[in-house]
Symmetry: C2
């Protein structure tokens, strides 16, 4: 599919538990105000009915703001609300099946925690890789061992696909993941748990832009 | 879509917890040996990856036996494994969206616990209604209040759609739900928790057939 890679710069993943009681649309709106380019709907405990309601609300919001909506895991929900794409992890639908259901036009992101998973994801038709966890994270209970920036460096040397770094990324380490080869970053708690979501998102975006300028991407 | 309504006679829903430690394929094989006509894959706690593996195994098995595979809730999984259809409850994807994603050819079953839900499901494009819970059931924690056979009688008087009775149905009460207007029945524990799954399924099938003969359906 066709998209400007800069649209993948800053993914904010939803999390009902970590959002300090603020509802999903409030959190997403504040993140978009701060410059998030992608809202990824991730809700592993909701019923499908609730997921659809959340996705419909986020679809309207992201469309209004010219941002992307990507749905985690649930290809059915992504298709039902006409999301821009879906993101699958290693416990989700195999990427090749996800690609088949999504069709060629929607964005498919695939999590990769090592070189082998990355190679498989690319063969299966991924448009970008979610690479991580880079650092230790408490936001995702089943995240694997932190990889540091080494995996990003190796992948950036081998592949041209956009690499979105995830796992324990915040304002203090975002510059080094861009430097290591990440195109963009995906965050949960660094944004959704921030007292000022818009300011936290804006800070991350400024760091990304600075990193891109350093790589002549802007 | 086109199907012989008799193919909807006897739905056996999978349940990993209630199957007394027997694996899903073993349980489904025994149920098919006893004459189940539909295996409905229902697994609300599995990861999507595991669901796909279960669905792939059940797809091969049901195809080999000429039985139907229907996937509960997950339209993505139904499409991914080319199931015959999907079944959605009131907490799942709205039926009209499910119909859109499934297309016109696959079977769409929709749960209805009252006349209003039934009417909505029919408008949304349901091929059959899952009507219940008829009797008290421990198999489904979020099942509503038992309806008895009254709802079946009312629906059978108003609609021609196949009605599949569900909720607490076993060999002792199966005849009366057919008599009340059900086309078929859906069971969980009456089959998957039975010491002899094949015999339990066979008994239910015989009761169904006797009921159909009483209604000149055979």
């Amino acid at each position: 599919m066709n998209f400007d890679v800069r649209q993948l710069a800053l993914h904010v993943l939803t999390d009902r538990v970590l959002s300090l009681g603020r509802d999903m649309v409030t959190v997403a709106t504040a993140a978009l105000d701060g410059g998030a380019t992608v809202i990824q709907l991730r809700d592993k405990t909701a019923s499908t009915r609730l997921l659809i309601e959340e996705a419909v609300a986020l679809r309207a919001l992201t469309r209004e703001r010219g941002a992307m909506l990507i749905v985690n895991d649930r290809i059915d929900v992504a298709l039902a609300v006409d999301a821009d794409g879906a993101h699958v992890g290693q416990d989700d639908m195999p990427a090749a099946l996800a690609r088949q259901l999504l069709g060629p036009e929607r964005i498919l992101g695939v999590s990769a925690g090592n070189l082998e998973e990355a190679a498989e994801a690319i063969i299966a038709g991924a448009d970008y890789l979610g690479v991580g966890p880079i650092y230790a994270t408490a936001s995702k209970a089943d995240a694997g061992q932190p990889q540091g920036t080494a995996l990003l460096r190796e992948l950036a040397a081998q592949h041209t696909l956009p690499l979105i770094a995830i796992g324990g990324i915040h304002a203090e380490n975002a510059a080094e993941v861009i430097q290591a080869g990440a195109t963009g970053i995906a965050v949960i708690s660094a944004v959704v748990s921030a007292p000022d979501i818009t300011a936290a998102t804006h800070d991350l975006r400024q760091i990304l832009f600075a990193g891109w300028r350093g790589k002549n991407m802007l």
